[in-house]
């Protein structure tokens, strides 16, 4: 016996199971080493037993059981008269025995332990696979091969430098806008408007308004600038190439209160620094030029009324032509923003023409009216091009998906974090229900779950196919008039995807997050076509009146000499409706209720025009507005109407 000292209390407590301790028994049942050491066995066998039991790597209680049984076995063998050498010899392979004992003893453990063990190893395996997956999704590289900013700028860039209208336009706008009288504030007392400067009244004010004289004087004093605007509008191409920041020469127009040095330091330098890490994305391209184009359109609109009052028919005509020219300049980039601005400026041209024809039907010559009719007819059909919108999606994909060289790839989880954060900052709900805390944020949680999400997200080819499918649907929607197909089939599909299951949304989440619902563009196009038809018919009616001495009883009388065909009511699909009132001819659609209200516009209790009469689809459970959709005359008679279309 090598162990002769009395074990300490701590030693005894350490080797006693908790259950025994609670019962106040220092059983030392866990002391397997002590069991072997104290056994009445030859010393030669003890190290072997120590080794055997230790190698089982079992729990202490199990080791103690094995130790007791092995000790008993050898004691029995010795008692039976066997020599210790023979007993050791007959024991077999100690190492193998330890392994077998371990395996068999573990089988005896509880179901709970087995369940836990399976769970543990399952989790370990899954974590291993997950890590491998994470590595896979973090590999591969993007291929930012297409400069989509250049794609949407193709038309603008193609305009030769010396033929670009933009420098002319910019100089003209600056000459008008930099006049202190433009922004000088004055008391708005006595006006229907709350506006306090000429700049803010332009586009809203009409002759007869208390402040008209001030605006009249301002515009009269800027005729050279307005003439330059008209010249710019008449040039074949605007040539404004949109970029990620303003060119120095454009800064006075876009950021009049900022010096070039400040702009370079505060805006350009940080952007350039950002682009070093990653090429810029198309959504960072700025389209600031559409704002002054709209402003110029309002200037020309108001100047037309000034010229009309002054009996200057040539300027009236030139302004109307210029409005149509400005509209053409606005959509050099084929984004939806550009194209909607184009439509709104054309509509403004029709409103201005409406004002002219109602106020002074004889102001424009028949030749001028005929020329205007030809110009309007040339752009009567406007089919938006979704190529720019598609470019936004394709650029998003080339920035966030890897490219295997064959056009396929997977979500690049390393970079998605960044774009998701940017999207989130831009107010896009990066994940439904995530609110301001995007699931794919830069947080640890975001990093941890991104491989799982990347696995669910469709691959590059699949996403691209879906994007193309949606844009083809939107384009096809435009070919079908809304009176025949009121609902947008493309919107229905996109909404089904966005409103679908979480799995589906996750699978196509670049689309769910970034794909715009473009169904409303159809309405804008339908409205525009109705107003263009209204303007063309009104010109035809005026020319008829001049030649025939009065308005016809029906629009059919205009065909074919004055009009190729009677336009349709774009809500019902029937012929557009026509009445002659004291104020002249009225052209109208029956509106969503499909009944004739004699061209009466519906207003709500706040005197706001109810544009629901122009809706093609009446929401379920709601009655259609009782009124008509008047497409001519188009100009606003009431102050509240000026809130229209914004």
């Amino acid at each position: 016996m090598s162990e002769t000292r009395e074990p300490t209390f701590l030693h005894r407590a350490w080797h006693t199971p908790m259950r025994d301790l609670v019962r106040g028994r220092m059983s030392e049942r866990l002391d397997w080493r002590g069991t072997i050491t104290k056994a009445a066995l030859p010393e030669a066998v003890k190290p072997l037993l120590h080794k055997l039991v230790r190698r089982t790597r079992l729990w202490r209680l199990e080791k103690a059981d094995v130790a007791r049984e092995m000790v008993a076995h050898f004691e029995d063998a010795l008692a039976a008269g066997r020599g210790i050498d023979e007993a050791i010899e007959r024991f077999g392979d100690w190492h193998q025995t330890a392994k077998l004992i371990r395996r068999a003893t573990k089988r005896k453990r509880s179901y709970v332990w087995h369940a836990w063990r399976w769970s543990f190893w399952s989790v370990v395996v899954l974590l291993g696979l997950y890590t491998l997956m994470g590595v896979y999704y973090a590999t591969g590289s993007r291929n930012i091969a297409v400069d989509y900013a250049a794609v949407i700028n193709e038309e603008a860039a193609a305009v030769p430098e010396d033929q670009r209208a933009w420098p002319v336009f910019r100089a003209a706008m600056l000459s008008i806008r930099d006049d202190p009288a433009y922004t000088e504030e004055f008391e708005a007392e006595g006006s229907d408007y709350a506006y306090t400067s000429v700049g803010e009244l332009i586009g809203l004010i009409k002759p007869g308004d208390p402040h008209w004289d001030r605006v009249d004087r301002f515009l009269s004093s800027h005729q050279s600038g307005l003439a330059e605007l008209r010249r710019a509008a008449g040039m074949p191409g605007l040539g404004y190439v949109a970029g990620y920041y303003h060119r120095p020469e454009d800064l006075p127009l876009f950021e009049p209160d900022m010096s070039l040095a400040d702009y370079e330091r505060q805006v350009v330098a940080p952007l350039k620094a950002e682009f070093v890490d990653d090429p810029p994305m198309i959504w960072m391209v700025q389209l600031p030029h559409v704002t002054p184009i709209r402003l110029a359109a309002f200037m020309l609109d108001t100047d037309t009324l000034r010229a009309l009052e002054a009996g200057d028919a040539e300027t009236v005509y030139a302004n109307l032509v210029a409005l149509l020219g400005l509209a053409d300049h606005a959509d050099e980039q084929n984004t939806i923003i550009n194209q909607l601005v184009t439509l709104s400026i054309r509509q403004l041209a029709f409103e201005t023409l409406s004002e002219v024809l109602v106020r002074q039907p004889d102001a424009l010559s028949s030749a001028q009216l005929t020329d205007l009719a030809h110009r309007i007819a040339a752009v009567r059909i406007y089919t938006p091009d979704f190529a720019g919108e598609r470019a936004f999606m394709l650029d998003l994909i080339q920035h966030t998906f890897t490219d295997d060289g064959a056009g396929n790839g997977h979500l690049d989880t390393r970079l998605w974090h960044r774009y998701a954060a940017e999207l989130s900052a831009a107010g896009e709900p990066v994940f439904v229900g995530a609110g301001d805390d995007p699931v794919f944020g830069t947080s640890l949680i975001g990093t941890a779950i991104s491989p799982a999400a990347a696995m669910i997200v469709a691959d590059r080819k699949d996403i691209l196919a879906k994007v193309d499918h949606f844009y083809a649907l939107y384009q096809a929607d435009l070919a079908e008039p809304m009176w025949r197909q009121p609902e947008s089939r493309a919107d229905a599909e996109v909404e089904a995807l966005i409103g679908g299951s979480l799995l589906q949304k996750t699978r196509y989440f670049p689309i769910a997050v970034a794909m715009p619902a473009l169904g409303a563009v159809r309405k804008a196009v339908e409205r525009y076509t109705a107003y263009a038809d209204g303007a063309l018919t009104a010109i035809a009616l005026e020319l008829y009146r001049r030649e025939q001495g009065g308005y016809p009883d029906t629009l059919g009388a205009l065909v074919p000499r004055y009009l190729p065909e009677v336009p349709i009511d774009r809500i019902t699909g029937g012929p557009v409706n026509y009445r002659v009132t004291d104020g002249g001819p009225v052209l109208y659609s029956f509106g969503a209720d499909h009944d004739d209200d004699n061209g009466t516009i519906a207003y709500d209790e706040d005197d706001v025009r109810l544009y629901a009469v122009r809706e093609w689809v009446v929401a379920e459970g709601e009655a259609p507005v009782d009124g008509d959709w008047v497409v001519w005359p188009l100009h606003k008679e009431r102050a509240v109407d000026n809130a229209d279309e914004e």
Partner: protein, 123 residues
């Protein structure tokens, strides 16, 4: 004669169950009985016996209890469970069938196997 491991793997548990049929036994007792009753053919080393006992216990075919030996040391005794009895009956039947089949091939004498499970009866 040394028995191949694969053959031993099938026969040894049956032999142990058979020995426990007539009452509980402890480890060394089983080793001794197996060797004696099989004329040394089933002379299992401890390295085989104890893992096998633990396996049989894990399967619920035998059960153990610890008691004081004559020496005053604790000793683990094994006994057959109800499940073990059923397994023994089934395995015996299968061995008998196998033995008979082998006998027809002239490999084993018919009825030889049947005598093995009865070994416990003479302990």
């Amino acid at each position: 004669m040394k028995i191949e491991r694969e053959l031993m793997r099938g026969a040894a548990p049956l032999a142990v169950l058979s020995l426990l049929q007539n009452g509980e036994m402890y480890g060394y007792e089983l080793v001794k009985a197996l060797a004696q009753r099989t004329d040394g053919v089933l002379d299992l080393g401890q390295s085989t016996l104890y893992p096998m006992l633990y396996n049989l216990e894990a399967k619920g075919l035998i059960k153990s209890r610890v008691d004081q030996a004559d020496t005053g040391r604790p000793r683990k005794y094994y006994r057959l469970t109800g499940k073990g009895e059923k397994r023994l009956a089934r395995d015996k039947s299968q061995w008998a069938t196998l033995s008979e089949a082998l006998g027809k091939l002239g490999i084993a004498s018919s009825g030889a196997a049947a005598s093995l499970p009865a070994a416990g009866g003479g302990a």
